[in-house]
């Protein structure tokens, strides 16, 4: 045991320091601080130099890495350096149910003859989370052409619009505004929110989260070893990333073949919609970064409507269109695709994406905004 006399209080007392040798002086603590800070600041960027994200045109963020925001920022950087136009949005842009060569970006590239569209969609990114993703991890998306998708599904009910009072654990909670605007169903403690708010600004936090998501089945290491008791955790950290389509839930059946039924969607009014509010903030954010923003709305599967849905939805679309016009945002609000080309309420099948790409190329606003300077 290390013993040390107390100074100045009672010189006859000995108070034992501890039962180990881990006792550093001030100078030694400075050395520790320098080493740790160096690791803290440089490890993420050094790691980013290692390994490679595949850069073929149809590459998209692997499905199970949808929560790997640090990797997304790397993907943004790479895509923005290689492609003219990036597609940003949720699973509709990403291509849920469709293979990598059956997405909107793929068919846009086909129509364009050369590869100039990159898929930066991410599965599960509702507008509230998309705002956070663009703000904190999408900084590389600047001075580009951006096709930003608005999926009306996120305003099809109070729950989807995050307005229920009852706690609801929605996807990507760490990306939504933690304090303002208040999200009624988001009930995490203030200390957790503060941690999240701070962590978003720290590259190291994103990088450790990347390690967890990419190599440890989205678990922390202790929990991962419980599932893999005899494996070496260090051995799991390779530089390989999952192949994009390894775990994509592909399904080429239409919504009727999947026995889905029609619904009377309880659309939330635009004036109170949280998702719409944060979508507008995303548009403003992208524009502030020098991007040319083209908004693609839907097309929603209107064949599923019953009851009041068609009328209310139509009024909502008018409201969206009105704002886009007033804000001088070029846009396209294509008509609904044929019923058999939808897999559910919002996701087209591969053939649906092909048709949508063709429609976009025929759209004047798209031609002048996105294709105009080619």
């Amino acid at each position: 045991m290390q013993k040390r006399r107390i100074q100045g209080v009672n010189n006859r007392e000995d108070v034992v320091f501890g039962s180990n040798a881990i006792r550093l002086s001030g100078a030694e603590w400075i050395v520790v601080a320098v080493i740790c800070l160096a690791a803290f600041f440089f490890a993420p960027s050094l790691w980013g130099q290692l390994g490679e994200i595949k850069s073929e045109p149809d590459y998209r963020l692997p499905y199970r890495l949808g929560g790997d925001y640090w990797l997304y920022s790397r993907l943004c950087r790479q895509a923005c350096s290689q492609y003219e136009t990036v597609l940003v949005g949720d699973s509709v842009m990403w291509g849920h149910y469709a293979p990598a060569d059956g997405t909107l970006s793929h068919y846009l590239n086909e129509n364009a003859v050369k590869d100039e569209f990159a898929n930066l969609g991410v599965d599960g990114f509702h507008p509230a989370a998309l705002w956070g993703l663009l703000k904190y991890y999408g900084r590389s998306i600047s001075d580009k052409e951006v096709i930003l998708h608005l999926n009306p599904l996120w305003m099809s009910g109070r729950k989807q619009d995050l307005q229920t009072e009852k706690e609801y654990r929605f996807q990507h909670q760490k990306l939504v505004p933690q304090f303002r605007p208040k999200i009624p169903c988001y009930k995490d403690s203030w200390s957790e929110r503060v941690s999240v708010a701070i962590g978003r600004h720290v590259a190291f936090t994103g990088w450790t989260s990347h390690l967890r998501t990419a190599y440890f089945d989205n678990m922390d290491v202790p929990a991962w070893t419980m599932e893999h008791p005899y494996e070496n955790p260090l051995g799991a950290v390779t530089l390989e990333l999952p192949v994009a389509d390894e775990d994509n839930p592909q399904d080429d059946r239409s919504w009727t073949e999947r026995s889905m039924t029609k619904q009377n969607f309880q659309w939330v009014g635009l004036e109170t919609s949280l998702q719409w509010k944060l979508f507008r903030k995303s548009v403003e954010l992208l524009k502030a970064r020098g991007n040319t923003v083209f908004v693609l709305v839907g097309p929603f599967n209107e064949h599923m409507f019953t009851g009041d849905s068609p009328g209310v939805y139509g009024r909502m679309k008018d409201g969206i269109e009105s704002w886009l016009r007033q804000s001088n945002i070029p846009y396209s609000m294509p008509e609904a695709l044929p019923s058999e080309l939808y897999s559910d309420a919002s996701h087209p099948l591969a053939e649906g994406y092909a048709l949508l790409a063709k429609k976009l190329f025929e759209n004047e606003s798209f031609q002048s905004t996105i294709l105009g300077e080619r």
């Binding site: 045991m1 107390i6 100074q7 100045g8 209080v9 009672n10 007392e13 108070v15 034992v16 320091f17 501890g18 039962s19 180990n20 040798a21 881990i22 006792r23 550093l24 002086s25 001030g26 030694e28 603590w29 050395v31 520790v32 080493i35 740790c36 690791a39 803290f40 200390s191 503060v194 941690s195 190291f204 450790t208 390690l211 922390d220 290491v221 202790p222 929990a223 070893t225 419980m226 008791p229 005899y230 955790p233």
Partner: protein
């Protein structure tokens, strides 16, 4: 609020600079007391009523003792009050449950209503600390404290309030009489202690808890290897959890200029059970020795009385940990173990021929076995674990190799520390390397944890 959480960090970032500003002024102790009460009241404001009452009563008792000839009576008041509080809040439900069980077995159609009280966190610790003051004053071992504020701060000092160490008045009160001189060495020492404690708690204790909780939640579904490993891991989990808390408490106190006593001294290197209790929860074991074992006669009245006193102390120590028969059995086991090892150590063969390492392993094995009763939810569960350890077959335990590797590394470190190899561990690159490794492990691999400390429930 727990030391390893964000609320505590914010609390400390406010309290510490303010403390540095006021420490040379008359506001030093009032501020420290207010901060400590805020810290304690954060858990539940009602706790403050109890601690304030207990503090005020013991302070008043000593004031009266100083003026009265009936000092013993006043001491009895303090003891009765403190033990009464402990009895009511901690053991009320236990007693009524057992009385009702007895009445039911005798077919008496009456049920004593359960008090249904919430056990205030830290009660066992500050009650014992306050009681030590009144007893020490009675014995003439400590001077009367003239300031209620100073005494209240001594009882409630926030770094040690929730889970000790149980400080003695003669160690901590003098430190409060003068403004502490906080130098760079104190801050460096405090940081060292805190980081070690944080690593023990977050990286080790909470990790081991994953496997322990899984197995002990359903012991009937696991075979012998898993039960043995879970018990082995629990032995280390409780050590890392409790000693980690103490290290953090001592570290926080040190940067504030207070020296708290060492509470754990590599207990699993003990070569006898007596030595184990000299290394484990030292503040509690010395408390029981000074205030129970020695007044009962200690080892001065023959073998039978020695063992009787030892047995009583260990059983009461077990009961101190919790109001359940499992803790009583745990204490009794340790008492029996001490009898046995004491007699064994008197034999020439055991004393001279058996290598120290073998003794250490035997003691560790016994202590680990006894932990079964400490950890199990009930006597039935404990017995189930014991019988299945010895009676069920083989199955892959699926215990993380990394957990076992970490434990082995810690054990090896402690073993080297108490050997001739200590100089290696004390080399600057080794010390710095260990701290860097701990910090990087914490920030890269450790989970975000807000698991409570085990000993807070006592």
């Amino acid at each position: 609020m727990y030391f390893h959480t964000l609320p505590f960090l914010i609390f400390f970032l406010i309290v510490y600079p303010t403390y540095l500003i006021v420490k040379e002024t008359k506001l030093r102790l009032p501020f420290l007391l207010a901060a400590s009460y805020f810290f304690y009241g954060w858990l539940n404001p009602l706790y403050l009523v109890l601690i304030a009452y207990s503090t005020a009563l013991d302070y008043f008792v000593v004031v009266r003792m100083a003026k009265s000839r009936r000092r013993k009576s006043w001491l009895a008041v303090s003891i009765a009050n403190n033990l009464g509080l402990l009895g009511f809040f901690k053991y009320g439900a236990f007693v009524t449950d057992n009385v009702n069980l007895l009445l039911s077995s005798l077919n008496v159609p009456y049920e004593v209503p359960s008090p249904g009280m919430l056990l205030p966190v830290g009660l066992s610790f500050y009650i014992f600390q306050s009681l030590s003051y009144t007893i020490d004053y009675y014995r003439g071992n400590v001077e009367k404290e003239t300031s209620l504020i100073r005494y209240a701060t001594f009882v409630a000092l926030f770094p040690r309030l929730l889970a000790g160490p149980i400080e003695r008045a003669k160690n901590l009160l003098p430190q409060m009489h003068k403004s502490p001189r906080i130098c760079g060495g104190d801050i460096a020492d405090g940081l060292s202690m805190f980081v070690v404690g944080l690593f023990k708690k977050v990286a080790l204790a909470d990790y081991l808890a994953l496997y322990v909780n899984k197995v002990y939640a359903a012991p009937d579904q696991f075979q012998s290897p898993a039960l043995i490993l879970a018990t082995f891991l629990f032995a280390w989990q409780i050590y890392f959890d409790f000693s980690g808390y103490t290290d953090m408490a001592r570290g926080v106190a040190r940067v504030m200029g207070f020296r708290l006593m060492l509470n754990f001294n590599n207990p699993y290197l003990a070569a006898s059970l007596g030595e184990f209790w000299g290394r484990w929860h030292i503040s509690l074991s010395t408390w029981f020795k000074d205030y129970l074992y020695i007044p009962l006669g200690g080892n001065r009245k023959g073998t039978f009385n020695t063992y009787r006193n030892m047995f009583l102390v260990m059983v009461i120590s077990g009961l101190w940990h919790g109001a359940a028969w499992t803790f009583v059995i745990w204490g009794a086991l340790h008492a029996i173990g001490r009898f046995f090892t004491r007699e064994l150590e008197r034999t020439a063969f055991y004393k001279e021929k058996v290598p120290r390492l073998v003794k250490q392993l035997l003691v560790f094995a016994f202590v680990t076995f006894a932990w079964i009763f400490f950890r199990a939810e009930s006597i039935g569960d404990a017995w189930l674990v014991v019988t299945r350890i010895f009676g069920s077959g083989w199955a892959d335990p699926r215990c993380p190799a990394l957990a076992l590797a970490l434990i082995f590394a810690v054990w090896l470190y402690q073993y080297a520390y108490e050997s001739k190899l200590r100089w290696v561990l004390e080399c600057k690159p080794v010390r710095v390397g260990f701290v860097v490794a701990m910090i990087l492990y914490l920030i890269v691999f450790a989970p975000s944890s807000d698991q409570a400390f085990i000993y807070l429930q006592f």
